[in-house]
């Protein structure tokens, strides 16, 4: 089973790396870009010993305990 965890800075927190990417895109004539938020994606391969619901619960725990720092980051889990 595959799982993906998307981690991004919380809304309202300045993302200087995203800003740098946005400015660079602007200078490349992609001026339609008004904001960029940079984040991380984790692709996990899980064994098949659990249901999709159980996997979602386990991966959520992984995100809370390690993959994201919930002081400053949000995360989203996708299974399958």
């Amino acid at each position: 089973m595959k799982a993906k965890v998307y981690v991004t800075l919380k809304n309202g927190i300045l993302d200087p790396q995203g800003k740098a990417v946005q400015h660079s895109l602007g200078s490349m004539d992609f001026e339609e870009v008004i904001d960029v938020r940079q984040g991380k994606v984790f692709e996990l391969t899980l064994d098949d010993k659990m249901t999709k619901e159980e996997a979602e619960e386990r991966v959520t725990q992984m995100a809370q305990q390690l993959l994201a720092n919930t002081v400053m980051e949000n995360f989203r889990v996708e299974i399958g």
Partner: protein
């Protein structure tokens, strides 16, 4: 008294901290390898030093937080013993939940390595009692991720409890935007926990603790700790 200096793979200020505690301050000092479940009861103060534990992979300090020694350090701190995290050590202590907030990438995205001015905001702690309240000191910083962040509620609570110990200021002690090197909220450079026995700071006091290096304003922090313990 006895200092313990934790060593993670990638720590690189461990020997500086050991040198200052042992040779400059003349105190009994041991290194503690992060994989050892060491009996910490013989120690009075644990130093989590600077560097790049685990190469800063994932987030600075995040992997180190799950090393075996960290459980011992959390219970050591919960018994009221002294723990100080410097630079990467500060990042480790926030990731471990011993200190509130988080350290984000510097606002300018640059690694910054230079002397900066700090104001000592609270001298009623085991780490700062030998400073004068409001004293402005010069201590170097060297970091890429020192931009202190906490949500509004947490920020208000650490300010109200006088947990902000060091603030980036100009030489007159003014916490201006220009004096803030990394974008930290409220110019925060160092904070302690509610019980005042755990301190985290981005600047490096161990790099300015002997006169041969031209600055001894970091030595006062070690003097404060020794005074408190003895």
């Amino acid at each position: 008294m006895k200092f313990g200096v934790v060593v993670f793979p990638g720590s690189n200020c461990d020997h500086d901290c050991y040198h200052v505690a042992k040779h400059v301050m003349g105190q009994d000092t041991d290194f503690i390898w992060h994989k050892d479940h060491t009996d910490l009861s013989a120690f009075d103060c644990i130093v989590v030093p600077g560097g790049f534990s685990y190469g800063d992979y994932l987030r600075p300090g995040s992997i180190a937080t799950h090393s075996p020694i960290m459980q011992d350090i959390v219970s050591f701190a919960n018994r009221g013993k002294l723990v100080i995290g410097i630079c990467n050590g500060f990042q480790v202590l926030t990731e471990a939940g011993l200190l509130p907030g988080a350290l984000m990438r510097n606002r300018t995205l640059n690694f910054i390595c230079r002397d900066i001015k700090l104001k000592v905001e609270n001298v009623d702690t085991p780490f700062t009692s030998a400073y004068k309240k409001g004293q402005v000191v010069t201590i170097p910083i060297a970091h890429h991720d020192g931009n202190y962040f906490a949500d509004n509620e947490t920020l208000k609570s650490i300010e109200d409890n006088n947990q902000v110990i060091f603030r980036y200021t100009d030489k007159l002690g003014e916490a201006s935007v220009e004096a803030n090197p990394n974008g930290s909220l409220n110019n925060i450079a160092g904070i302690c926990n509610k019980n005042r026995n755990v301190l985290g700071m981005m600047p490096h006091p161990e790099r300015c603790a002997e006169k041969e290096l031209g600055n001894i304003e970091g030595k006062t922090l070690f003097e404060s700790i020794i005074k408190y313990v003895s």
